[in-house]
Symmetry: C2
Subunit: 190 residues, 2 copies
């Protein structure tokens, strides 16, 4: 139970320092030494708590996520999607977009990072998302064999990345709400 | 008419060298010196032909594009989308995905590159895409006020980026054809 040695406040502080460093120098240049210096902790503590850099980064990202699919259950699919949008804030989205761009690049040279992100972030969120969709199927809102269901992450990732690439700005809540009504719900046949 | 001094074969050779260097070292580390050395040309020639690095890179990317929206007109929207998929090859898509990742990162620190890409690549393709959609409207296949129309680039970019992020592989033709039928056409109400 090594993890229990840190208070939740201290853990939050450490994760925030990791994300600040990630934004400043990128994944490849981020070192455990730099995290130790920035947070005034020993490298031994960092390794004991997180084992390695990919896991530390993946846990910091997971901790930073403002809202998880698994926490959302409003009673309608459109309501669930809107709740996700409302619980994020525009400024946070801009910071997250910058992080994501750096990471999308970094995971290609770092299979360990990709593995940690899959296990700690992508797969739990996919499970949460599938639960959200399954409840819509159970309510009769969504046909169980809707082909677009398996591509929901692609639609969402596209909204974030393309908005930046084409419009040169981060997505905000107004954009995401419009995208849900224009693309996501019609594709799902809702 | 400085551009007329190079034969089309020589121009192709130069553009391919630029893309090879981009894949190898990334945009920021790419120098006109390296392009000159690799292609056994003088830096003066490069600057006379292309003015600067962002324009050279944008023109190389445009030249490399296997298919342009403006060239496609099969008589149906589904046929047009399928023709786009059929004219690209899987190996090329893998190479392009790697290039795109690097560029998505590079354009944030390099407004000149973003501007050159917008003018030489993104805007001409958006115009071609809008023509393709307008013909579908004129044929009565697509309602003129379909909200998803303006988000077509987002759906397409999402297919490319998310496939890599989630499935850890580049999109191939089979995946794109399925995505068109599962997401793009239903979102457009076709």
């Amino acid at each position: 139970m090594a993890r229990s040695r840190l208070t939740p406040e201290r853990e939050t502080e450490l994760y925030e320092a990791v994300l600040d460093l990630l934004r400043e120098v990128g994944y490849d240049a981020l070192t455990m030494d730099a995290v130790a210096t920035r947070t005034k902790s020993s490298k031994a503590t960092l390794y004991r708590q997180w084992g390695n850099k990919p896991e530390l980064v993946a846990r910091a990202l997971r901790h930073n996520k403002p809202v998880h699919f698994a926490d959302i259950d409003t009673g309608s699919l459109r309501g669930d999607f809107y709740a996700l949008v409302e619980r994020t804030d525009d400024c946070q989205m801009e910071k997250d977009s910058a992080l994501m761009r750096g990471l999308a690049q970094a995971i290609h040279g770092n299979p360990d990072l990709h593995k940690a992100l899959r296990e700690l972030l992508i797969e739990p969120e996919m499970t949460g998302l599938n639960g959200l969709l399954q409840r819509a199927v159970d309510r009769g809102e969504l046909a169980a064999d809707t082909p677009a269901m398996r591509y929901l992450p692609h639609m969402v990732v596209g909204a974030f990345v393309a908005q930046q690439l084409i419009e040169d700005r981060s997505p905000d809540r107004a954009f995401l709400a419009d995208y849900i009504d224009a693309v996501v719900l019609p594709a799902l046949g809702v």
